[in-house]
């Protein structure tokens, strides 16, 4: 058994690439050993800015000899075929042997692969690893780069140490020969150092002022920075990203604390922290009061002769940065946000969706509409938010609808204004936050400045979801406009491509709605947002405003229209426009309605993704959504929760089994009476094809439901179990339907639960496929009625298990 050391020395590797490079080195090394049939034992991979190192323990000194057999053509095959087989396997004809394969004599080549010395395997592996190594960005360099094919590395590669049990593994890559010499710290060590073996590697480098283990450097920085802060009576603001980055920038990290002019603390703390972090990679500290202190911690790559000199240099750089920041902070405040906002007309949001000012106009109207339509109300947003959060927004408590609508519109009009400020120009990540600060400085109401600050939230899953009503209105309007806008210009996400972050916008919409229990028809709301976008587009293209939403969605406007749309969203069919409208309008309407359908489906797909994290089963969401007609996310989820609670009980599991059995029998028997009256929500066929008016669908569905729950009178005396099911159904079906109507979903489930025992007994005791035709028909009708009663609560056919 032997230990192997590989070190690849190069010029400074970007800090952000080092973790990936370690993984790549491990992957390629394993690939090479696998190919040689060697399972590596323990692997250690280290990185510094200047080197990647790998230590593999307990490698065999040689690979095992292997004997492989290859089956060739049968005896008597044409010479060409046999010669070809020999060439392929690198053997001569004389080396072939004949064997009986199922009664037929066949040529075999036996290829003996002798064991190879491990040093030879490694000598071949190293150039292959370097050649195949994948960097996020790589380059050519030096005299060899006169040829296009010269080798590539992240920065010029300068040395290879390769030692197997202390012996050099000889190899060469583009003029660099392997050896045992490497270099220590750039400044604390001079000349080459010689490595004896894998065991001595880390210690030899440490003696040359290089800590090769990146984890050890990270720990030194983490602890050293915290200690430096503590020694100054401060607390370090922990920042693991900075720890890792600094560990990737140093071979001998020395955290040093410095102070900056207290006067800079007038600038918002986020700005100071960002300046220090992004531009200089410094940590910041807090005082005992929890406020940002006038201190920073930088990480030097040397043990400086006089630390004060290094600290002072860093202090000056930070001071220059902070005076820039303070200049922006003061400069920006000289102009009111409303005036900044005028400049948004110069920034393109998207070529087809206009400038940011155009978007702001749409968002402002939509935010107001959300309030005026009682979707976002003074009381509602935040009401479900738990005590901690709702207590933070007392201001909304006594707010009237009118005030809320005004504030939502005002905040929306100002929410993007900070994009043209100097500060956000310099630090785009401060968007929103700076607008909030500037609004507060201007003396705008706190609800408005908070909304400006937080309207981008939530950014991704796990981010805090706003609950203050003004913020909710602006945030929701902003994201609805984005989603509708890009879908309407056919820029929806495809596969891994989502350049406009629409999936994130979708998740944000869902989170806002659920967190704040906003009752609204998703389809109607998206339609309103789409109207705003389409109005803009038509105005730009035809210089004419669309007077009402009816111009765009002639038959879809209004809540009934939205429901029809939703139902229609599932069978792949057009929503039919007003037949009296001009053909051009009908065509346009169809296209826009199709996109609206896509938006609704997209959001429900996002809902499934989002709810998976919360442990809600996607099949249950499907089961409720598939019924159609329900696009109120809050109500839908309440139903899904009740369903999930139910299907995990014993009653639920058994009822599901009973349902599936009933459905299977009905399917097998080709039972179509109920099928024809029920509106399926999926499938290739379009049962609504003849129903031109989507409004008709509701009527058809209603009749179907009525018929389904009414079991036709029997022409014979039912068996006891049959009678029991009929009676149970007569009670349970209307009870479940009523409970659903009243949004008492647990009660609906309880009603279904009463069917479990009767259906089980029915299947045990009653023969559905009776000899007598009338019995058979009646029993099938009974099962259909049972199935449909269950269906009123959820589409159980979509439930897994």
């Amino acid at each position: 058994m032997a230990d192997f050391l590989l070190e690849l020395l190069c010029e400074e590797i970007p800090a952000r690439m080092q973790a990936g490079a370690r993984a790549e080195l491990e992957k390629l090394f394993r690939r090479e050993l696998d190919a040689a049939g060697v399972g590596p034992g323990e692997l250690t991979i280290w990185s510094t800015p200047r080197r990647l190192a790998l230590i593999a323990r307990d490698l065999p000194l040689a690979t095992e000899a292997v004997s492989e057999e290859a089956k060739g053509p049968p005896e008597g095959a044409p010479d060409a075929a046999i010669d070809g087989f020999c060439r392929k396997n690198g053997v001569t004809r004389e080396q072939l042997t004949l064997r009986d394969v199922k009664g037929r004599m066949t040529w075999f080549a036996v290829i003996d692969q002798p064991g190879r010395a491990m040093a030879d395997v490694l000598a071949a592996a190293i150039p292959a690893i370097i050649r195949d190594f994948s960097w996020p960005k790589s380059m050519r360099w030096g005299a060899a780069s006169i040829a296009t094919e010269s080798s590539r590395w992240v920065r010029p590669l300068s040395g290879i140490v390769a030692l197997l049990d202390g012996e050099v593994v000889p190899c060469e890559v583009d003029g660099i020969s392997s050896g045992r010499e490497t270099f220590g710290h750039r400044f604390h060590s001079s000349g080459a150092i010689s490595i004896a073996s894998a065991d001595d590697y880390a210690a030899s480098l440490r003696a040359a002022h290089v800590i090769v283990d990146h984890e050890e450097r990270a720990a030194l920085i983490r602890e050293g920075a915290a200690r430096a802060a503590a020694d100054a009576g401060l607390t370090l603001v922990a920042d693991e990203g900075l720890v890792v980055e600094n560990a990737g920038l140093t071979e001998w990290p020395v955290p040093l604390l410095g102070r900056f002019d207290e006067a800079f603390l007038d600038v918002p703390p986020e700005v100071i922290q960002l300046t220090a972090r992004v531009n200089q990679k410094y940590f910041v500290c807090e005082g005992a009061d929890g406020k940002l202190a006038n201190a920073f911690v930088c990480t030097a790559n040397i043990a400086p002769r006089d630390p004060a000199v290094v600290v002072d240099g860093n202090r000056k750089v930070l001071a220059a940065r902070l005076s820039d920041a303070r200049f922006f902070w003061e400069q920006d405040q000289k102009t009111p946000l409303a005036v900044h906002a005028e400049k948004l007309a110069r920034i393109t949001f998207h070529e087809k969706l206009g400038t940011v000012a155009d978007k702001v106009e749409r968002v402002a109207k939509l935010a107001r509409w959300l309030v005026e339509s009682d979707i976002v109300t003074p009381a509602k947003a935040g009401v479900s938010g738990g005590d901690a959060l709702s207590s933070e927004m007392p201001a909304s408590a006594g707010m009237t609808k009118g005030v809320l609508a005004d504030m939502a519109e005002q905040a929306a009009r100002l929410c993007k204004a900070d994009l043209v400020t100097e500060m956000v120009g310099e630090f785009p990540e401060l968007q929103g936050l700076m607008g909030g600060y500037y609004a507060a400085k201007e003396g705008l109401p706190q609800e408005v400045s908070d909304a400006i600050r937080d309207h981008y939230k939530p950014v991704g899953q796990g981010d805090e979801v706003p609950t203050a009503p003004v913020t909710v209105a602006v945030s929701l309007a902003d994201k609805l406009d984005t989603l509708a806008g890009f879908f309407l210009i056919d820029e929806k996400p495809t596969g891994s491509k989502d350049p406009f972050a629409l999936r994130r916008a979708g998740i944000a919409i869902i989170s806002l709605v659920i967190r704040n229990s906003l009752n609204m028809s998703m389809a109607a709301t998206l339609m309103k947002a789409s109207f705003g976008v389409l109005d803009y587009i038509y105005y730009r293209e035809h210089d004419q405003k669309l007077s009402t939403i009816k111009d765009v969605f002639p038959l879809l406007s209004g809540p009934e229209g939205a429901i029809s749309l939703l139902k229609a969203a599932f069978p792949k069919r057009d929503v039919v426009a007003d037949p009296t409208a001009p053909p051009k309008v009908i065509q346009r309407d169809r296209e826009n309605a199709a996109r609206l359908q896509e938006m609704v489906i997209f959001l429900f797909d996002r809902l499934k993704v989002q709810q998976r994290e919360a442990g809600v089963r996607h099949d249950l969401i499907d089961a409720v959504f598939a019924l159609g007609g329900e696009d109120d996310l809050v109500r839908l989820l309440a139903r899904v929760h009740a369903l999930q609670a139910f299907v995990t009980t014993e009653d639920g599991t058994n009822l599901l089994a009973g349902y599936k059995r009933a459905a299977n029998i009905l399917k097998k028997e080709g039972w179509s009476a109920a099928e024809a009256t029920r509106i399926p929500v999926t499938g290739e066929e379009d049962p609504l094809a003849q129903v031109d008016d989507p409004g008709m669908a509701d009527i058809v569905a209603e009749q179907a439901a009525l018929r389904a729950s009414a079991v036709p009178p029997l022409s014979y005396t039912p068996e006891a179990a049959e009678k029991a099911l009929i009676d149970a159904l007569a009670v349970a079906a209307p009870r479940a339907a009523e409970a659903v109507e009243a949004e008492r979903f647990a009660d609906a489930m309880a009603a279904l639960a009463t069917l479990r025992a009767p259906i089980d007994r029915f299947f045990e005791e009653v023969t559905v496929n009776a000899q007598e035709a009338d019995k058979r028909t009646s029993r099938l009708a009974l099962l259909a009625a049972f199935r449909d009663a269950v269906h009123r609560v959820a589409d159980f056919s979509r439930i897994e298990g």
């Binding site: 010029e11 400074e12 970007p14 800090a15 952000r16 800015p49 960005k137 380059m139 050519r140 360099w141 030096g142 005299a143 060899a144 780069s145 006169i146 040829a147 296009t148 992240v154 920065r155 010029p156 300068s158 750039r186 400044f187 604390h188 920038l249 140093t250 200089q280 410094y282 930088c298 030097a300 790559n301 040397i302 400086p304 002769r305 006089d306 000199v309 290094v310 002072d312 240099g313 860093n314 000056k316 750089v317 930070l318 220059a320 110069r346 920034i347 393109t348």
Partner: protein, 309 residues
């Protein structure tokens, strides 16, 4: 020789004199075999525009040069009131083709020559890749930090004018004022000692910064600038069609600077900006391409087997 005529130069004092710092860099890079060039006699935004960098980065022939290039950034003007920002400042450029294996060591030695001791100051190579869409060029490298301050841009050119650099050149761009402020321990650029005879940077440039900032931002006649831009563009095309790409390149540099002036005057809207940048890019790239294509046969004759693409 008569004793009256004998001249013994004073020892350089880079820690106390801006010009001595420059002369020390000249001494250092001259000793490495670089030709020491004078600045390009045109207004430009960065030393990279000097033909000794752009055009010489193309082709197979070795090329080692060092020079100071005055840079003009009209929008960075602060009327002489900002201690760090100037609309006119100096870059020190070194171009080494092919990039030598010890280029980092040479660079660090040059810092030591002007008085930066790497055990007293924290020198770091921090990832900073370079890209100039205008020149169809990009490279990988670092910004070099000295105690947290960026003092040099260090780039391995990978492409220029849309062509792979074969071989790759290493480019060093020292920010001279910053380095000098650091070495002299001065917080305001105008307080730098220009020489050891009492002349400050402010004595030389303060009034210039005031007047030029005013001209850049407030005075320059924009009609004339638009006209200049159009003329430079036309002349670039004229030179290209006449097969003199170096002359065309000069016109591209001119157009680029005039565009920067128009920007400072605030007369180019966001939408127009993209279009103007595209026009400048087109001129610069066409000139680089035409130069590379014109020279390619000669290069191939000298370096059999070498190809432009």
């Amino acid at each position: 020789m008569s004793a009256d005529l004998a001249f013994a130069p004073a020892p350089r004092d880079p820690a106390r004199s801006f010009q001595d710092m420059i002369l020390t860099l000249h001494d250092f890079w001259s000793a490495q075999g670089c030709v020491i060039l004078q600045p390009y006699d045109m207004r430009m935004g960065a030393g990279t525009f000097h033909t000794a960098t752009t055009l010489r980065a193309l082709g197979p022939e070795p090329w080692n040069a060092a020079f100071v290039q005055p840079c003009r950034r009209p929008t960075d003007g602060r009327y002489g009131e900002n201690p760090n920002r100037l609309q006119h400042y100096y870059q020190y450029q070194v171009i080494l083709k092919p990039s030598p294996p010890d280029i980092q060591a040479l660079y660090l030695k040059s810092l030591a020559a002007i008085g930066i001791d790497p055990l007293a100051h924290d020198i770091r190579f921090v990832e900073d890749d370079w890209e100039s869409p205008t020149l169809g060029a990009w490279g990988l490298g670092w910004e070099v930090w000295c105690d947290g301050m960026e003092v040099t841009q260090f780039t391995y050119f990978q492409q220029m004018g849309g062509f792979d650099c074969k071989p790759v050149a290493g480019e060093l761009t020292y920010g001279l004022e910053r380095l000098a402020m650091y070495i002299q321990g001065v917080d305001n650029v105008y307080d730098l000692a220009f020489n050891t005879a009492g002349v400050s940077y402010g004595d030389v440039f303060l009034e210039n910064e005031r007047q030029m900032s005013k001209w850049n931002f407030e005075v320059a006649e924009t009609g004339a600038l638009f006209d200049l831009f159009a003329k430079a563009e036309a002349e670039c095309r004229n030179a290209l069609s006449a097969g003199v790409p170096i002359a065309a390149y000069e016109q591209a540099v001119e157009a680029s600077h005039v565009f920067n002036l128009l920007q400072a005057r605030g007369v180019i809207s966001v939408q127009e900006r993209t279009s103007y940048m595209g026009r400048v890019r087109d001129l610069a790239r066409s000139s680089c391409e035409a130069y590379a294509e014109k020279m390619a046969p000669e290069w191939q004759a000298k370096y059999p087997g070498w190809s432009l693409v």
